[in-house]
C-alpha cells in the first residue's frame, strides 16, 4: 500500500513576512533606486513647471528663486530631491557596470553598494554647499 506523501506547498513571501528578513545592502540601494525613480517620475510636472518658470522671464526667474531658495522648508525638500537624483545617478552607473559583468561577485557587489551611498552623500553635500 502506497502512502501519498503530502504535496509541498510553495508560497510567495507575504509583505508582512518581509520584516523578518534582513535586506542586504545591494537590496537596500536597489529598492532605493526604484523609490527615487518613481518619486522623480511623479514630480516630473513640477520639474517642468519650474524649468518653464525659470526660463520664461526675469520676473519668472526671480519668482522661481524666491520659491526654491526662499524658505527653509523648500530647501529641505530640495536637498532631499538632490540626494534622490544623485543616488539614482550613482546607482544607475553601478547597474551599467553590473550589466557589463563588472563587479558581480558578492564582495564587489557589497562594496560597490556602499560606495554608491558614500559617493551620493558626499556629492549631494558638495552640491548643497555650492548651491547655498
Amino acid at each position: 500500500m502506497s502512502v501519498n506523501k503530502p504535496r509541498p506547498v510553495y508560497k510567495n513571501i507575504h509583505v508582512f513576512d518581509l520584516m523578518h528578513y534582513r535586506l542586504p545592502i545591494p537590496g537596500i540601494i536597489s529598492i532605493m533606486h526604484r523609490i527615487t525613480g518613481a518619486v522623480m517620475f511623479l514630480l516630473l510636472p513640477v520639474f517642468l513647471a519650474l524649468l518653464q518658470m525659470s526660463l520664461k522671464s526675469e520676473a519668472g526667474y526671480e519668482a522661481f528663486k524666491a520659491m526654491v531658495w526662499g524658505n527653509m522648508f523648500a530647501k529641505i525638500i530640495l536637498l532631499g530631491l538632490l540626494y534622490f537624483f544623485v543616488h539614482h545617478f550613482c546607482c544607475g552607473i553601478r547597474y551599467l557596470l553590473l550589466d557589463t559583468h563588472r563587479g558581480i561577485d558578492l564582495v564587489s557587489a557589497r562594496n560597490s553598494s556602499k560606495a554608491v551611498v558614500f559617493v551620493s552623500v558626499i556629492v549631494s553635500a558638495l552640491l548643497a554647499v555650492k548651491l547655498w
Binding site: 518613481a38 516630473l44 510636472p45 518653464q52 525659470s54 526660463l55 526667474y61
Partner: protein, 117 residues
C-alpha cells in the same frame, strides 16, 4: 523562450526596452554633467541661466535629453507597475495614464524650449 540566443532586434523579448533604458540613461548622464558644468560656469542670475538655453544646439540637446528621460521613465514605470499592480484593469489604466502623461510632457517640453517669448 525557445532560443537561448536573444536578438536585440527580435520582437517581444524585452531586451530592446532594456537596452533603450540603458542607452537613454547614458545620454541623460552626459547631458546632466554638461549642463551642470555650464550652469556653474555661467554668471548667476536670469541672463546667465537663460543664456545657456538660448542657442539652438543647446535647445536641441535639451530636447534629446528630455525625450531620453521620457523613454527611460516609460521602461522604469512599466516595470514597477508590472511588478506591483496585479489587477489587470488597474495596471492597464495606470500604464495608459503614464503614456498619456509622457506624450503631454513631450509637447510641454517643446513649448518650454521653442514656444515661449
Amino acid at each position: 523562450m525557445v532560443n537561448s540566443k536573444k536578438h536585440i532586434v527580435g520582437a517581444h523579448y524585452g531586451t530592446r526596452d532594456w537596452l533603450m533604458q540603458r542607452v537613454a540613461a547614458i545620454v541623460m548622464a552626459v547631458y546632466a554633467l554638461v549642463l551642470a558644468g555650464l550652469a556653474f560656469a555661467a554668471p548667476t542670475g536670469y541672463a546667465g541661466w537663460s543664456g545657456i538655453f538660448n542657442n539652438q544646439f543647446m535647445k536641441l540637446a535639451t530636447f534629446v535629453a528630455l525625450i531620453c528621460l521620457f523613454l527611460h521613465v516609460w521602461v522604469g514605470v512599466r516595470d514597477i507597475l508590472m511588478d506591483y499592480i496585479k489587477p489587470t484593469g488597474v495596471r492597464l489604466t495606470l500604464l495608459v495614464l503614464t503614456i498619456v502623461a509622457l506624450i503631454a510632457y513631450i509637447g510641454w517640453s517643446i513649448h518650454i524650449l521653442w514656444g515661449m517669448k
